[in-house]
Amino acid sequence: MALDVASRARFNLEKAAVLLLDDTPLGMSILVQIVTGLGAKQLYRCTSVEMAKEIATHQEIDLAIVDAMAPEGKGYDFVEWLRRETQEPNCYCPTLITTGHTPTSDIVRARDCGGHFIIKKPIAPIVMLERIIWVAKSGRPFLFTGSYVGPDRRFRDDGPPDGAGRRREDLARAAAEAAAQAPPDQQESPEPHAAS
């Protein structure tokens, strides 16, 4: 995942609608300088959860960068709301959570709110860019359960415990791995995942 700082590879954030949520002028200023430096032009700068909800309800967003807003952790509430209450495609929006410090009492909340990644401050521009590229590319499925809505948190692909999968995706992955290990003349084209 590490990017080479001297890379000439191009990426384009110009047309991406980016929602920024931070209730402090200092935090917002740092975020804005980083994402505009990376080429983003369409920014929604939200200084409160209410503003961010308004934007997420009425505008299509491609990326959300949300500060956790400790100690209350209102940023986590916003991400949870985004996942549960907004229409497609915003409910699947790639979401990065930034935080200076996570109180012990908020660790479970941070894990379960539905963000793609948590970035610890201070934020280096290269880290932000790596995470943006990663969340855009990643094929992490979204889960809808009673208690959790968000990207699958099992993204370390260690395989199922004891080699026995319980879910449909585990079987599909095992089949794909088996096909990849088979001699070329026995390989079948993988079944594409349906997007919804």
Binding site: S7, N12, A16, G100, P103, K121, I126
Partner: protein
């Protein structure tokens, strides 16, 4: 029985990132660093303002545990994390993280340690000095970590119980 539904969304962001135009990685990072450099004076001023507020809150505190006051100190310290790096004083971010750890432990234990809080506030002020040598900053950070870690195990045990 709990039902689980899987969806495989295709974020538009992936297509946008690959669309023609845009910037090379090296140029974008250079621009982002230049932008951050431009806000260095504002960041320094904001950090100083937060420090002043923190000092005022600290002097108003008494020896007994006061949840809203400790939470206020935490709010001030956490707002500063990230600005130290921009100001060219990364040790401040580490010091404020140690401060937030300490305040979080104290909140968990519902206890107050005026001296431990005071040492963090004074360290913040010292680390704001432009001419502080690197070795001095490291010594300060070592001391702060020892102070905040003193409560870590106890707070962990309390939060598990």
């Amino acid at each position: 029985m709990t039902s689980v539904r899987f969806v495989f969304p295709k974020p538009r962001l992936n297509e946008l990132l690959r669309s023609p135009g845009g910037l090379p990685v090296a140029e974008a990072l250079e621009q982002a660093h230049a932008n951050l450099e431009a806000i260095r004076p504002t960041c320094t001023a904001e950090l100083l303002a937060l420090l002043e507020l923190c000092e005022a809150s600290y002097w108003n505190l008494k020896d007994a545990y006061d949840e809203p006051a400790v939470t206020e100190l935490y709010s001030l310290a956490v707002k500063g994390i990230g600005a130290g790096e921009i100001c060219g004083r990364p040790a401040i971010d580490a010091a404020l993280t140690s401060f937030c750890d300490l305040l979080d432990h104290l909140r968990t234990l519902k206890r107050y340690d005026h001296e431990a809080v005071g040492v963090h506030v004074r360290a913040w002020k010292l680390l704001m000095m432009a001419d502080l040598p690197q070795a001095g900053a490291e010594q300060i950070l070592d001391g702060l970590l020892k102070v905040s870690r003193r409560y870590a195990a106890e707070a962990r045990a309390a939060s598990v119980a």
